[in-house]
C-alpha cells in the first residue's frame, strides 16, 4: 500500500478540508493572517474550500474583492511588507497571468532589492489541473513560470496530509510562496492527524517504495503514479513514487537517490511538458544519476495544445494511469 502520510492519524479528511483546517489553525494562531480574493467570504470560493471561515473570522479577515487579480495581489504584497500575512486566493490558476507583475517584479524581488530589509511573507493559493471540461482558459497548470523566478517558493501538495502541513509551513514562511491545488483533488480523502504539524518546504517524499523504476510526480500526478504503480505491480514491476512536494526549494537528493537505485525514471507533471517542470526535474536527474541510468529519463506532461473543451480531446491531453503504466512497462522492457 502507498504510504501517503508521515504520521499515524486516526481520521480521514478531504484535501479541501485539509486546506481549510490549515487556514483556520493559522488564523487562530496568528491574528495577522488574513484571506483576500474573489468570492472567498460568503461563498467560500466556487470550490467551497473556504466555507465557514467567514463565520469564524469575520469579514475583516476574510475579504471579498472586486475582480482585480493584479490589484489585490499587489495589496497583499504591501500588507505583507508591513506586518500582515496575507493569503491571496486566485480562483483559477489561469488567472495568475494577471498577477505576474505583482508576484515577479514586486513580491519576489522586494527582499533582495532592499538588501534584505523588507520581507514579503505572503501566500498565493491557486488551482491547477484539467479534465473538468472548463476549456482552455480554466484548465492550465502554470506553476513552471513561478518555479523559474528567484525569490519565490512553489508548493504542489498531492495528499490531504501534505496539503495541510505544507500550507501551514507556507503561511509561516517569511517569503512569498505560491501554493497550487489541483481542482480534481479537492475531494480526495486521506489520513490527517488532528494535532498541529507542518511539512517543511524543500523535503521530497517517497510516496511508495519500489525497485525497478522511479516515477517522480507532482500534485495530482502523484495519484496517477500511485495508480500506475499498482497496475505495474500486477505485471511484476516494482515502481517507486517520489513526490518533490515543493518545486522550489527542490530536494534534488531524494530524486537522484531514487533514480540511482532504480536506474529508470519517468517524470510526471500536469503542466505543459515543453519548457516546464518535467524538463527541470528530468535534467536534474539525468545529470545527478548520469552513470546509473539505463534509459533516458522520460517526461510526461500536458500535450502542447491549449486545453480543448471536448471531453474526448481533453482526456487525451494529460497523462493517465494507463499511459503511465504503458510508458513504464516499455521502459522496463516488459
Amino acid at each position: 500500500m502507498p504510504d501517503t502520510t508521515r504520521a499515524p492519524a486516526d481520521r480521514e479528511i478531504t484535501f479541501a478540508q485539509a486546506i481549510r483546517e490549515a487556514l483556520a489553525e493559522e488564523m487562530r494562531r496568528d491574528s495577522t493572517v488574513f484571506i483576500l480574493g474573489e468570492d472567498v467570504a460568503e461563498a467560500g470560493t466556487p470550490f467551497k474550500v473556504l466555507a465557514g471561515l467567514l463565520e469564524e473570522f469575520g469579514k475583516e479577515r476574510v475579504l471579498d474583492t472586486p475582480i482585480s487579480e493584479a490589484g489585490f495581489t499587489g495589496l497583499a504584497v504591501g500588507a505583507a511588507m508591513t506586518g500582515m500575512r496575507p493569503v491571496v486566493d486566485i480562483m483559477f490558476g489561469d488567472f495568475v497571468t494577471l498577477t505576474m507583475d505583482q508576484m515577479v517584479n514586486q513580491a519576489a524581488k522586494v527582499h533582495y532589492m532592499s538588501g534584505g530589509k523588507w520581507r514579503v511573507p505572503m501566500v498565493m493559493r491557486t488551482t491547477m489541473g484539467a479534465t473538468r471540461r472548463s476549456a482552455a482558459q480554466h484548465s492550465q497548470s502554470l506553476h513552471a513560470w513561478f518555479c523559474h523566478v528567484p525569490g519565490l517558493k512553489v508548493v504542489l501538495p498531492s495528499t490531504p496530509y501534505d496539503a495541510k502541513g505544507l500550507l501551514k509551513a507556507a503561511i509561516r514562511d517569511e517569503n512569498p510562496v505560491v501554493f497550487f491545488e489541483d481542482k480534481m483533488m479537492y475531494k480526495l480523502k486521506g489520513p490527517v492527524p488532528a494535532e498541529d504539524y507542518t511539512v517543511p518546504l524543500g523535503v521530497a517524499d517517497v510516496k511508495r517504495v519500489g525497485e525497478d523504476i522511479t516515477l517522480i510526480a507532482t500534485s495530482s500526478m502523484v495519484q496517477v503514479a500511485l495508480g500506475a504503480a499498482a497496475l505495474l505491480e500486477e505485471i511484476g514491476i516494482s515502481a517507486e513514487v517520489v513526490d518533490p512536494r515543493t518545486m522550489w526549494p527542490l530536494d534534488e537528493k531524494t530524486l537522484i537517490d531514487s533514480a540511482k537505485k532504480t536506474s529508470r525514471v519517468i517524470v510526471l507533471d500536469e503542466g505543459y511538458e515543453r519548457y516546464g517542470v518535467t524538463a527541470e526535474l528530468a535534467s536534474v536527474v539525468a545529470t545527478g544519476a548520469f552513470y546509473d541510468l539505463d534509459a533516458p529519463v522520460k517526461r510526461m506532461g500536458a500535450m502542447h495544445v491549449p486545453i480543448p473543451f471536448s471531453p474526448p480531446l481533453e482526456d487525451a491531453t494529460v497523462p493517465t494511469e494507463q499511459t503511465v503504466f504503458e510508458a513504464a512497462r516499455t521502459m522496463c522492457g516488459k
Binding site: 461563498a43 475582480i67 490589484g71 471540461r133 472548463s134 480554466h138 473543451f309 471536448s310
Partner: protein, 330 residues
C-alpha cells in the same frame, strides 16, 4: 440585424420590433434547453445562462451590421444568437461536438463565429476588452466602416485593463462601444460590494460618451445603442453603455441555492415585474402590432426549433481524438 431603422422611426418599424421579440424568445428558449441538457447530464462542464438579460444583447446587436464585430463573455449565448449564430452549431459546441462552431474545442465559453462578426466569448473576466478595441482599431485603419461592441458584466469593472483600453480608444478615437451588463452580481457577490464610486463616471473620466439604460427595455437599449454606434461609426469616438439588468438563474447552471447571496423575493420581482419579453409582448399587443396568439406562437415555434437543434447536436459525433493536435498553429 438590420440597418434600415432610424431612431425616430422605431415605433413604426413593426418588422424590426417583431424580429427583436423573436430573437429575445430565441435566446430564452435556447437557454432553457441548455439548462435541460445540464439537468439531464448531457452537457460537459457548466454554462452561464443569459435568461433575463435578453433585451440587452438583442437591443445592442440590432443596432449593428452583420459585418460589425462583437466580443462576448462567459455568459455569451445571448450575444452569439443576437448577432445571428445558428442554434444547432451552438448546441453542438456546447456538447463538444465536431459540428460545433469551434469543432468542440471551445465550448460554451468560447463560441466564435467570423461569419457573424463574433470575435468570441471569453472566460477571462474583461478578457476581450483589448480584442474589441483592437477590432475597432483595424476598422479605423482599414477604413471599412465597422464598429466593435465589447460586452462585459459589471464584474469586469474591477479589471484595470478596461481603463487602459478605454484610454487608448479615446486617444485613437476608435469605433468601439463598451457595453456593461450590470446584472447586479458577479458570481456570488453584489456589485455594490465591489464597485466604488460611480460606474458612468468611470467612463466619462476617460472622455467616452457614456449612457445608462433600462436593460429590460429592448426598445430603449436599441435606441441608445444606435446613437452610440452611429457616433462611433462617424468617427466621433468610443462609447460606453450601462444596461441595468438581471440574471434569473444562478451564476451558472449548477448554482441552485442562491439565498445566501440574493433574496428569492428580489428574483421574484424582476421576473414578474420587469421581464423584458413579457413586458415587450404586452407593449406590442397594446400597440396592436401583434396579437397574443401570434406572440404565443413565437414561443412554441422557437421551443420546437431549439429542441430540433438540440437533437442535431446530441446526435452529431465528437471530433476524432487525433484532432486534438490540430489548430494549435495556423
Amino acid at each position: 440585424m438590420t440597418t434600415a431603422a432610424q431612431p425616430n422611426e422605431i415605433s413604426e418599424k413593426t418588422d424590426l420590433l417583431l424580429h427583436m421579440y423573436r430573437r429575445m424568445v430565441a435566446i430564452r428558449q435556447f437557454e432553457a434547453q441548455v439548462n435541460e441538457l445540464y439537468t439531464r447530464a448531457l452537457m460537459p462542464g457548466l454554462a452561464h445562462l443569459y435568461i433575463g438579460e435578453e433585451a440587452v444583447a438583442v437591443g445592442v446587436c440590432e443596432a449593428l451590421e452583420q459585418t460589425d464585430y462583437i466580443t462576448s463573455t462567459h455568459r455569451g449565448h445571448g450575444h452569439c444568437l443576437a448577432k445571428g449564430a445558428s442554434p444547432d452549431h451552438m448546441f453542438a459546441e456546447l456538447l463538444g461536438k465536431k459540428a460545433g462552431y469551434c469543432k468542440g474545442k471551445g465550448g460554451s465559453m468560447h463560441i466564435a463565429d467570423p461569419a457573424t462578426g463574433n470575435l468570441g466569448a471569453n472566460a477571462i473576466v474583461c478578457g476581450s476588452a483589448g480584442i474589441a478595441t483592437g477590432a475597432a482599431f483595424s476598422a479605423r485603419s482599414l477604413q471599412n466602416g465597422r464598429v466593435a461592441v465589447c460586452f462585459f458584466g459589471e464584474g469586469a469593472l474591477g479589471q484595470g485593463v478596461l481603463y487602459e483600453v478605454m484610454n487608448l480608444a479615446q486617444l485613437f478615437k476608435l469605433p468601439v462601444i463598451y457595453v456593461c451588463e450590470n446584472n447586479l452580481y458577479s458570481e456570488y457577490t453584489h456589485y455594490s460590494e465591489t464597485t466604488a464610486g460611480d460606474i458612468l463616471a468611470r467612463a466619462t473620466a476617460f472622455g467616452l460618451e457614456a449612457a445608462s439604460v433600462d436593460g429590460q427595455d429592448v426598445r430603449a437599449v436599441y435606441a441608445v445603442a444606435q446613437r452610440l454606434v452611429d457616433r462611433a461609426r462617424r468617427g466621433d469616438g468610443p462609447g460606453f453603455l450601462v444596461c441595468n439588468t438581471y440574471r434569473y438563474h444562478g451564476h451558472h447552471v449548477g448554482d441552485i441555492n442562491r439565498e445566501y447571496y440574493r433574496p428569492k423575493q428580489e428574483e421574484q420581482i424582476w421576473k414578474t415585474e420587469r421581464d423584458p419579453i413579457a413586458n415587450f409582448g404586452k407593449w406590442l399587443a397594446e400597440q396592436k402590432l401583434a396579437d397574443a396568439a401570434s406572440l404565443d406562437r413565437v414561443h412554441s415555434d422557437l421551443e420546437a426549433e431549439m429542441k430540433k437543434a438540440v437533437d442535431f447536436a446530441v446526435a452529431t459525433p465528437y471530433p476524432a481524438v487525433d484532432e486534438v493536435g490540430e489548430d494549435v498553429y495556423a
